[in-house]
């Protein structure tokens, strides 16, 4: 197995041609440096109020104390972010957790999606993901049920992130997850339902050293179609790499070549907290189609410096094509305050 050196540890590299095997590959890949399970979606309560939701679990292998017999040795670190975008509130409610895996207090399973940090958890049961998040000002108890097969991104699940072959990740997405459950803000619970998207991605060399950050979007079209697109920006403002895929309602997938994906900022928003300037409204050109992305609200910045050390914008967006509403999705903008490091 090809490896990459970091600290004292050797990390495996992503190699094309190794097929993903499920359910094993729903689980963690602890040898790789980074991994995440990323859920974004839009829901409405009984009164029709729209919310954006984000629940993310990260796994990191720092390559430290790997030989230690101590149960506290930080061989695997786990992080979790959760956020609710509530247009009536004007900014994200978010919270985060961080822990070293071990002693049963924070663990991640290598056999299926099952990860928890204290009382924050995400687990796959059959074709349903269940999550429980007990943040300081809100709680979420949600179930995400698969309605479509998963989408292997890139070349059968190997997604290139740069010009060198090792700059890749294993990556699959699960669009159109039927979402039900309860969210409670400031102790007031509300039943919600909607549609969500899950990404599961792992890698050892995700981001090239010269990269500044990336923009990513995942869109659930009202007609059952789905689209994922991303670009990796360079520190000098250029684009290092782009990619994406679109699955039509009938299930056929088209993978975009780098030159087929283009993000064009339509409007920016400046964060009063960090000074970061984000292109919160974008025109996305993917293949021969063009979509306009409008944020549910401008301030969807998430300050994760206490856990993973970064600040990013993770926002619910509405999608229009030729002025017509086409669906909902999430837009992620990273590296707008400082260059992103994983």
């Amino acid at each position: 197995m090809a490896t990459s050196a970091f600290g004292q540890a050797r990390y495996p590299l992503v190699r094309p041609g190794v097929p993903l095997v499920f359910p094993r590959d729903h689980g963690a890949h602890p040898d790789f440096r980074t991994e995440w399970w990323y859920i974004t979606g839009q829901v409405r309560d009984a009164r029709g109020r729209a919310f954006g939701i984000q629940i993310t679990f990260f796994r990191n292998r720092p390559g430290l104390q790997e030989e230690s017999p101590s149960g506290f040795a930080p061989k695997q670190l786990l992080f979790a972010h959760a956020a609710i975008a509530d247009p009536t509130h004007g900014k994200l409610r978010h919270d985060q957790r961080a822990a070293r895996a071990g002693l049963g207090l924070a663990e991640v399973s290598p056999t299926t999606t099952a990860v928890h940090i204290d009382d924050w958890s995400l687990a796959l049961e059959g074709e349903r993901y269940r999550t429980r998040i007990a943040a300081d000002t809100f709680t979420m108890e949600l179930t995400f049920s698969a309605t479509q097969p998963l989408v292997l991104q890139g070349d059968r699940g190997v997604s290139r992130k740069g010009p060198r072959p090792e700059q890749s990740s294993y990556y699959y997405s699960r669009p159109h997850l039927a979402t039900t459950g309860t969210i409670a803000i400031d102790g007031k619970p509300a039943s919600v339902q909607g549609v969500a998207w899950l990404d599961h991605e792992w890698s050892s060399e995700y981001l090239a050293p010269e990269a500044q950050g990336w923009d990513w979007v995942g869109l659930n079209f009202d007609d059952g179609g789905a689209l994922m697109a991303f670009r990796i920006r360079l520190r000098d403002g250029g684009i290092l790499w782009s990619g994406g895929s679109r699955r039509d309602p009938q299930g056929s997938v088209r993978v975009f070549a780098p030159h087929e994906v283009r993000f064009e900022p339509l409007r920016t928003w400046r964060s009063p907290r960090t000074g970061g300037v984000y292109p919160v409204a974008m025109r996305l050109r993917a293949g021969d189609a063009s979509f306009d992305l409008d944020p549910l609200m401008d301030d969807q910045e998430l300050d994760a410096r206490p856990s993973v050390g970064t600040v990013y914008w993770e926002g619910a967006v509405r999608v229009r094509e030729n002025g017509q509403p086409r669906g909902h999705g999430y837009l992620e903008l990273t590296g707008y305050v400082r260059p992103l490091k994983l």
Partner: protein
């Protein structure tokens, strides 16, 4: 006008007034300084503890060796716990340094939320997780002289490990000397896999802390406390020592008050006619009493103000030189900043003022009561002392003192012991006129004029002599009692050291700290070193017998049960015990604090379980104030599953020198990893620590004696001055200057001799209370009475000489004027 009436008399006798002020100031300064120093240390200790605990509501602690990490996991999962942060604390040995460094292993992800002050902002998260990095507090950096980027070497077992100093802990928090590293790394480095020593808990909102703690049901040896109580525990630990010093300061204040009393009484006696004149002119009794009290108040205020300033200076100097625990060794590893406490200032300043006012109360009331017409006549001044005559109050006081010394402690403090000392002191002072009259009446009448005159003069005015003596009797009593107590203590410690150090050479892994130790294989290799006839290893750790009290030291030594009679400084016989239970030997303190007697059973927490022992005997211990339990190491090893050892005592074969064995062992363990000491060296170091601890006591003694001596000379001087007319008349009838000088020398000698006699007797009585009541109840240790005869004799001789010289000197000054004017002079 009132101001002038007030200041006038004070300025008329500036020396006397100054003395009162100085005496009050000294008492205030000592009390205030002790309070300041200890208060600063406690507050620093508390702040450090609170910074370490951060936002925790509850802290769970266990024995020094730690407890199983599964207890942490259970706590973290418990209902009502919002966040649990584990810590592993190790006092790490630094090679070449005597004092250990406290290393705290933390989980940055949990401690970062609970104790954010412990983490430097902007530090690389990975640095907090590496196996070989530490973050040091600013105090630790200063102490060690290292900076970020340097390497710090710590010893674990006998091995050394270099740690990279990655940065400083946040500076704003006063943490004392600590290092923080990853808890996993600490477990590995210090060979404490699976153990934590502390868990800080943040409770979910709405959870009642008291109820939560009550429901915890912790394993034996564990305790849950609120972090803010940490200071209270420390406060309690030093309390006996501090109360001791406070009482000494109070005695100094009392001596000052006595001095004010005798000064004012003498002054009022001499100003009797002046005061009567004020009455004739129309001052009411109330105004006279008020005026005299105001004089006392003024002296008190000036004395208190000077005392507070002096106390502050004294505290600064003392903290520079002997440290915040005044040399007693309670506050290691913290560097307190002097914090001025308004409460302490008010308390001790107030006490100084009160002492002065109370001291002048008696004379003031007496002066106000005096009939003005009679008082205007000269020779009436003896009447002033009539009220002091009845001896029964004094005798009652002495009786109360004797009775109080038989009473038990209150809340672990020898309250009644101190009361007994106060009563003995007060009783003696009150009995002084009677005692003095009694003593003077027994002096044979002399033939030679100067001596005869001196004796007659003293007999005619015993009350005045008694008044001059009050301060010196108190001071001598205090000094003699302390001298006898300290000498008894030192002699007993010396004898005890001899008893507990039977081996030829001692070996220890670390003088402080718990990171260095001998593993089983280290022990085997040392055992094989040639020249060692016999070696006994010792393992110690600290265990919690009662959550409300500090940990006791658990000592496990080879071969204790085989040879206890010969090898332990036992007090009392060995109890015949149930052979089915292992035996425990308790130190005097443990037996006294926890109320154990030989034959009883004691449960000792080892490795998370309670094990029953039977108390086989009680031994004397001056080393571990919080108590010690000694068991056989074979039993310890089996019960605690711990084969390591900290120390060893070695008996050498004939013809082998300590140096041979030392170098042979160093070849096994490595140089600097271990320390050697011969019994003689240990004894010398122990006694020098002992002497350092009592430095403050010696200083207080010297101050008290100085006050008393100056008080005596001032009293003699003022009386001599008052007798100028008498001297003038004597000179008129043909008495030589030299004869008057001899007369005064005789008077001074007799007065001082009487005072010293009474003072020494009082001192012996008080020393018995100190030894058998105060020390026993404060520190739970016994000692053999030992009187430093030669020292006391020298002290008495010097005091006699100084008093005599003082009297002559005062007389020479009084006779400086011409005799004719002295006769004409009205007052």
């Amino acid at each position: 006008m009132t101001g002038r009436l007030l200041i006038g008399p004070i300025l008329q006798h500036p020396g006397r007034s100054l003395l009162c002020v100085v005496a009050i100031a000294l008492g205030v300064a000592l009390g205030f300084a002790v309070q300041l120093i200890n208060g600063s240390a406690i507050s620093e200790f508390t702040r450090a503890a609170q910074t370490l605990a951060g936002k925790a509501d509850v802290t769970v602690r266990g024995p020094r060796q730690g407890f199983d990490e599964s207890i942490y996991v259970d706590l973290a999962r418990r209902d009502g716990v919002a966040l649990a942060s584990p810590a592993l604390e190790v006092d790490a040995k630094l090679p070449g340094r005597e004092e250990p460094l406290r290393v705290i292993g933390l989980d940055v992800f949990r401690a970062g939320r609970l104790q954010p002050a412990l983490f430097a902002e902007g530090a690389d998260l990975l640095d907090s997780l590496r196996a070989d990095t530490v973050f040091l507090s600013p105090a630790a950096m200063g102490w060690l002289g290292v900076k970020p980027g340097d390497t710090l070497t710590v010893q674990s077992g006998l091995a050394r490990h270099g740690l990279h100093v990655a940065g400083a802990l946040t500076g704003e928090a006063s943490l004392g000397r600590v290092a923080v590293m990853d808890i996993g790394a600490a477990q590995t480095l210090f060979d404490r896999i699976g153990r934590v020593s502390r868990v800080d808990l943040r409770l979910a909102s709405g959870v009642d802390v008291e109820r939560f703690v009550a429901a915890l049901d912790l394993a034996p040896g564990l305790t849950a406390e609120r972090p803010r109580d940490a200071g209270t525990a420390t406060d309690r630990m030093t309390r006996a020592y501090r109360v001791n010093l406070d009482v000494l300061a109070l005695v100094a204040l009392f001596t000052g008050g006595l001095l004010v009393f005798s000064t004012q009484a003498l002054s009022v006696a001499q100003r009797r006619a002046q005061i009567a004149l004020l009455r004739v002119l129309g001052c009411t009794r109330g105004q006279i009493a008020g005026l005299l009290l105001a004089e006392g108040l003024l002296l008190g205020i000036v004395g208190a103000a000077l005392g507070l300033a002096g106390g502050l200076a004294l505290a600064r100097i003392a903290m520079e030189i002997v440290g915040a625990d005044l040399g007693a060794g309670y506050f290691r590893g913290i560097a307190p900043v002097l914090r001025v406490s308004p409460v302490a200032a008010l308390t001790f300043g107030g006490l100084g003022v009160v002492a002065a006012v109370v001291g002048s109360l008696g004379p003031a009331l007496e002066a106000a009561r005096a009939a003005p017409a009679a008082a205007l006549k000269s020779g009436d001044d003896q009447r002033a002392f009539a009220a002091l005559r009845p001896p029964w109050i004094g005798i009652a006081c002495l009786g109360a003192g004797a009775a109080a010394s038989a009473l038990p402690p209150v809340d672990d403090l020898p309250v009644f012991g101190y009361l007994a000392i106060a009563a003995l002191l007060m009783g003696t002072i009150l009995s002084l006129p009677a005692l003095t009259a009694f003593a003077l009446a027994r002096i044979p009448t002399a033939q030679r004029i100067p001596v005869a005159l001196a004796i007659e003069q003293l007999r005619a005015r015993p009350a005045q002599a008694a008044l001059s003596l009050a301060a010196i009797v108190a001071a001598v009593g205090l000094s003699v009692s302390m001298a006898v107590m300290v000498s008894s203590f030192r002699t007993s410690v010396d004898a005890w050291l001899e008893a507990v150090l039977p081996a030829d050479l001692y070996l220890r892994s670390s003088s402080g700290g718990d990171s260095a130790f001998f593993t089983e294989s280290d022990q085997a290799r040392i055992r094989d070193v040639p020249g060692i006839a016999r070696i006994e290893f010792l393992r110690w750790q600290q265990v919690l017998l009662d959550p409300q009290r500090p940990r006791v030291t658990l000592l496990a030594r080879d071969g204790v049960d085989l040879d206890a009679e010969r090898r332990l400084p036992l007090i009392g016989p060995i109890a015949s015990t149930d052979p089915s239970l292992p035996r425990a030997w308790l130190s005097e303190q443990t037996a006294a604090i926890y109320g154990f007697a030989p034959g009883q059973r004691i449960a000792v927490p080892l490795n998370g379980r309670l094990h029953e022992f039977v108390v086989a005997g009680i031994w004397r211990d001056y080393a571990r104030q919080n108590g010690a339990v000694l068991i056989d190491r074979a039993i310890y090893t089996a019960l605690a599953d711990d084969r390591s050892a900290n120390d060893a005592g070695m008996w050498l074969t004939a013809g082998t020198t300590s140096a041979d064995v030392q170098s042979a062992i160093e070849a096994v363990t490595g140089k600097d990893a271990v320390e050697f000491a011969t019994p003689g060296e240990i004894r010398a170091v122990s006694l020098s620590i002992f002497d350092r601890t009592f430095t403050v006591t010696y200083a207080l003694e010297a101050a008290a004696v100085l006050i008393g001596l100056v008080g005596l000379s001032s009293a003699i001087g003022s009386q001599v001055l008052a007798r100028r007319r008498e001297f003038g008349m004597l000179r008129h009838v043909g008495v030589l200057r030299g004869q008057i000088a001899r007369m005064l020398a005789t008077e001074g000698f007799i007065v001082a001799a009487v005072g010293l006699l009474i003072g020494v007797a009082l001192g012996f009585a008080m020393s018995l209370v100190l030894i058998h009541v105060v020390n026993r109840q404060s520190f739970h240790w016994g000692m053999q009475l030992h009187v430093p005869v030669a020292g006391l004799a020298l002290f008495i001789a010097v005091m006699l000489m100084l008093s005599t010289i003082t009297a002559v000197f005062a007389g020479r000054q009084a006779m400086a004027g011409d005799a004719v004017r002295a006769v004409k002079e009205d007052w």
